[in-house]
Symmetry: C2
Subunit: 206 residues, 2 copies
């Protein structure tokens, strides 16, 4: 995910000088290095997944699924696609349906993908995989709503809190987190870390 | 490879307004879309490799090798790494050793990788794979020398023709192509397309 944040912060994208209180990559190293670092990190994700030194016992069949899953989540059909629609519409007024599309792809696809990758790697299939996918979709969506609530003084207009107001957006976020936790009802306490992550989403303050 | 060309042409990189006689991606669509398109294409390569719809009969074990190979060739240990050393040293005088490193990685790694991916997909191993790897390395190196000879009026100083002169650089290119073709001596006429590609390298005029 870090790769996309480096590219996101670039002057021609969100033009952010800071990332988590520190100077962003391109402010420290320059634009060209920031672009190349993002490219290297994006590519590195696929090296890590297929490195037999790192994963000596991985089932190649499952590994192939993981690479496919990640590439769809990160690429034009996922994160990059959502970010493109966001960038193209900067400054225009979008309706809730279009913002939903951006949320689902720009942020949601990779969070959904992260959950699914872990699930597939652990051998989840069928109903279990569907439940976890559902969980990932809900928290991905909630994450972006909260992100935009925390950044409401930002310049971005195409967000849930801007269109619906802080209170209504917060309620939708809470509802999504409840649904995410509810979709884990088939899992025992081993899934508690996932429940904690979901709750943490609504509590974070930065 | 197209992904890297789109990123290469960006203002903060080579700042090229044209690519093969046409306006470059960022001139037509803007910088942000050019960055995102490059990201999407880079990611798409890994979707294509692992898409069971496209490759229904691929051996997953081999597919895993292909993804690993491509990620190393394209990423920080290959193309992106070479490009980074090139960009960081823009305007400085490098010695031949350093230019060799840039050639081997910025251009060579992905051409070598392209040859190896085809070979691995076809089941080549052992001596055959080594011979084809050697072929890929030689033509990758020769390609960049010729590229710099054809672009000698460009602004780039850290090139074989700039450091050694056109004639000497051309001789080295010819020698590499001969070595590339020689490394195919164990293959019959089925390898003729590879021999033709190698010869074509020295004949191209743009």
């Amino acid at each position: 995910h870090t790769y996309s944040l480096i590219h996101d912060d670039l002057p021609s994208m969100d033009n952010d000088d800071f990332r988590r209180g520190k100077l962003s990559n391109h402010k420290v190293f320059g634009e060209s290095i920031a672009i190349l670092t993002g490219d290297a990190l994006l590519t590195r994700a696929f090296s890590v997944l297929t490195d037999r030194g790192i994963n000596p016992n991985i089932d190649p069949d499952r590994c192939m699924d993981l690479v496919y899953e990640l590439s769809l989540a990160a690429g034009g059909s996922g994160m990059v696609g959502g970010q493109t629609v966001d960038v193209v519409n900067q400054g225009r007024d979008l309706d809730l349906k279009a913002v939903e599309y951006i949320y689902k792809n720009k942020t949601g696809a990779l969070i959904r993908g992260a959950v699914r990758l872990g699930a597939i790697a652990a051998g989840a299939a069928g109903d279990q995989l569907l439940s976890l996918t559902n969980y990932g979709e809900k928290i991905g969506f909630a994450f972006q709503i909260v992100d935009d609530i925390l950044d409401i003084d930002g310049h971005e207009k195409n967000t849930y809190p801007f269109i619906l107001g802080m209170e209504k957006a917060g309620e939708i976020g809470e509802g999504l987190v409840d649904e995410a936790i509810d979709s884990l009802r088939g899992f025992d306490e081993k899934a508690d870390p996932l429940r904690m992550i979901a709750r943490f989403l609504m509590e974070r303050r930065h």
